[in-house]
């Protein structure tokens, strides 16, 4: 974990209001696991006082580059979308604990399920799994075709199926519809996306190893402010809670209570 002034090396709109941002700096080499995130200062203005948590979408250790993909929605992310090449970004990270890639043996099959801007961390995860000799299958859900991204990139790593709410791309419906209908066989499932999606996955696919990446509003993002806690499912757990920022954002299904 460090605070790095990273240089913006590239920024582009990869889908409607969805931006791919590449930054360069020492921080990139510290990333331990896919699923970790960074806490980004959107502006040197008290207008957007708090940092924004953004998942690490990809890491290039050689070029010391880190890729993020985010939706420009509120003040902070809109400002981030205005970043220009050469600009400096103040980035805190890498933060949290990511997806356990060692949990899937080489030759095994992993299903990666993403929804909306929950998709980005799965890309680095998929690359790492593939490198370990794991077969990867991707099921990606988006609201519609306009906001979908990275289909090509994921396809290069393994079979990739899309679901869109309005049917404008892939199958009409939710990721769970896709998984059901195609009767995908797998050894482990990794997921990141909206809580309703995670809940549906937990309800239906807890029979095999399932890891979920959560989201919560954050203050410090390093475990010091208790903004992001969630309760454990086990009432006898010693602490009774987990911090999404420092214990997570990835948890094994059944470890914490999902609430929206």
């Amino acid at each position: 974990m460090l605070i790095d002034r990273m240089e913006v090396t590239d920024i582009k709109e990869v889908a409607e209001d969805i931006f791919e941002l590449k930054v360069c700096g020492d921080l990139a080499s510290r990333v331990k696991e896919p699923g970790q995130f960074v806490h980004v200062q959107a502006a040197h203005s008290i207008d957007t006082l708090l940092r924004r948590p953004i998942s690490i979408c990809d890491v290039n250790r050689e070029s010391r580059e880190l890729t993020m993909i985010f939706r420009a929605e509120g003040k902070g992310t809109k400002r981030l979308a205005e970043c220009r090449q050469g600009e400096e970004l103040n980035v805190l990270g890498p933060l949290g604990n990511g997806f356990p890639i060692e949990s899937c043996k080489p030759g095994g099959t992993a299903v990666l399920v993403g929804g909306g801007v929950g998709v980005p961390p799965l890309y680095y995860l998929s690359r790492q799994l593939k490198k370990n000799g794991v077969n990867v299958i991707h099921v990606l859900g988006f609201a519609n075709k306009q906001v979908s991204f990275y289909e090509k990139e994921f396809s290069e790593l393994g079979p990739t199926r899309l679901a869109t709410v309005d049917g404008s791309a892939g199958q009409k419906g939710f990721v769970t519809n896709v998984i059901e209908e195609h009767d995908i066989t797998y050894d482990i499932m990794y997921a990141c996306g909206p809580v309703p999606m995670l809940k549906a996955l937990e309800a239906n696919y807890s029979n095999k190893p399932l890891y979920l990446s959560l989201e919560q509003r954050m203050g410090c993002a390093i475990g010091a402010c208790f903004a992001c806690t969630c309760q454990t499912v086990d009432p006898n757990d010693e602490k009774g809670y987990r911090k999404v920022c420092s214990d997570g954002p990835v948890f094994k299904a059944g470890e914490v209570i999902l609430s929206c």
Binding site: M1, L2, I3, Q41, I46, D47, T48, L49, L50, R51, G76, N90, L92, Q216, R217, M218, G219, C220, A221, I222, G223, A224, C225, F226, A227, C228, T229, C230, Q231, K239, G240, Y241, S246, S259
Partner: protein, 310 residues
Amino acid sequence: MLNIALPGLNMKNPVMPASGCFAFGKEYGELYDLNCLGAIAIKAATKETRFGNPTPRVAETPGGMLNAIGLQNPGVEKIINEELKWLESFDTPILANIAGKETNDYVYTAEQLSKVPNVGALELNISCPNVKEGGITFGTVPEIAAELTEKVKAVSTVPVYVKLSPNVSDIVGMAKAVEEAGADGLSMINTLMGMRIDLKTQAPVLANKMGGLSGPAIKPVAIRMVYEVSQHVTIPIIGMGGIQDAEDVIEFFLAGASAVAVGTANFVDPLVCPKIIEDLPALLEKMNVSHIDELKGRSWGACQKTSSSR
């Protein structure tokens, strides 16, 4: 030029992280050496373990933030055995923040904490609702605050600071009441009560609905209150509310503070405390001051300078 001696707190410099924004130091300790801090105000301790409020617990506001953490903490016993034990390795005095639902909670927690060797002083967070008095906060009625202060003083073996809530009509009255009741110092200010409503959900952003407003937005209110109170009490004031840089620290000293605490700014820049400590000496030199203590209360003291314009 920065060392400050306050009741119970022998500080290398006047800068400490504010309670609740720094947990018990471990996390920030991974980013820098905690020995550089003047003191550490640890997260509020309560008698029992508390999980706190449902999430979302924080929200951003213009120039500030709201929080409704709900005093999540492992309880005083664990804090003593684990967190304070860990903090022993640092040469930095601890200001132990205490909260409770009724007077007995405070008294119990205070008594336990005051016995811990590295706890230099206690800080009573009186912004909590008092269940016995029907939910009004200890911090809005001078008599109740004074009574609490007295009872805690009676059991504490270390100095006691009372942390005042700004959500009152008469902050000077509150300050004088707790001073008379024996407080050794004041911490001010705690957060202002605020709310933000999400246009999409049409409901408050925080699950708890209301929360405490902190950050730069509240600095003018904090400065005003320190300015008013410091002229009416003789005990020292730890000033806080929106401090972001060394200039802000000086502003609090000029207003009448004897030390400062930095809260929200830690989230903006995790290195803010060491940075402020590093920046202070040069700023003091520029102001022709040989010790920061000299600036205390200058804005209302005798030696005011006159302004000049273009």
